[in-house]
């Protein structure tokens, strides 16, 4: 059996890569994919923690996260498409109307 610390380490690495993507990329779609990446890393953490603690509620929490993430993707992509129709760009640097 692989110690759950390795799973947690992998999840931490995935989360870090996703956070780096958010900071480095300026394409709204790629940033959105990085958010999904971070959510998946957290799911992996919850599952391995649940296994170590002999608790099924970790998996139930992951189930809920998956459902909410699906709803989030639907709304987020609709927003990106609506912005693209109005502005013809997917770069977040172009969206600066609310900039002070």
């Amino acid at each position: 059996m692989v110690a759950s610390g390795w799973y947690m380490g992998l999840a931490a690495a995935l989360f870090t890569i996703g956070a780096l993507g958010i900071l480095l990329r300026r394409n709204a779609l790629v940033m959105f994919m990085c958010i999904e990446l971070m959510l998946n890393a957290v799911n992996l953490t919850l599952i391995s923690a649940g296994r170590v603690m002999n608790d099924l509620n970790g998996q139930v929490a992951v189930f809920f996260i998956l459902v909410v993430a699906a709803a989030e993707v639907v709304v987020g992509l609709a927003i990106i498409v609506a912005i693209f129709r109005r502005r013809a760009t997917a770069s977040v640097d172009e969206l600066s109307e609310l900039h002070g």
Binding site: I17, R26, A90
Partner: protein
């Protein structure tokens, strides 16, 4: 032994996919990298006895969500996302320094041995209590978490209606 082999293979796949998401210039490649990561993590879920969650991950995420992503990439245009330049030299320097700092901090904490991943960790796993079959997940889902379950049902309805409202774009005549 089998679990160790699977873990190494799938961890490499997941990390390679994640790096592809961030590095790839073409957003279709990013989507494919994310797909690889999702599949690898699904295999790791199965290894950790989370059968239902792994199935949901493959069906909902790798199936529905990635299809939606690819649809939007095609809608927005592949070549356009490649065209704009993404040169943020100062930001890259800052992020690189920050990442190095975090890695050093994590290494120091881990090596010094002061850190426990799960404080209340049981010494050995009882397979029966964490075997995430459909029946096992359904029992807490429909007793303890039934209110959250109903709330997510409501949330999905609202999200679908909101997406339709956003996508239903009336062209403003000016």
């Amino acid at each position: 032994m089998v679990e160790a082999l699977l873990f190494v293979l799938m961890a490499l796949g997941a990390l390679a996919g994640a790096v592809t998401v961030v590095v790839a210039r073409n957003s279709v490649y990013s989507a494919m990298g994310l797909l690889a990561t999702l599949f690898s993590v699904a295999v790791l879920f199965v290894v950790q006895l989370a059968h239902l969650v792994a199935a949901v991950q493959v069906i909902v995420y790798a199936g529905a969500v990635m299809t939606l992503f690819l649809f939007v990439i095609m809608l927005i245009g592949v070549d356009l996302s490649e065209a704009f330049d993404e040169r943020l030299p100062r930001q890259r320097l800052w992020v690189g320094g920050l990442a190095g700092l975090v890695i050093i901090l994590a290494g120091v904490v881990t090596v010094s041995g002061e850190f426990e991943w799960v404080p209340a960790a049981a010494p050995e796993t009882i397979v029966e209590s964490t075997n995430g079959t459909v029946q096992a997940i359904a029992e807490p889902l429909f007793t303890e978490w039934v209110l959250a379950f109903e709330a997510t049902a409501l949330l999905l309805t609202i999200a679908a209606a909101g997406a339709i409202a956003l996508a239903h774009f009336r062209r403003v005549r000016v």
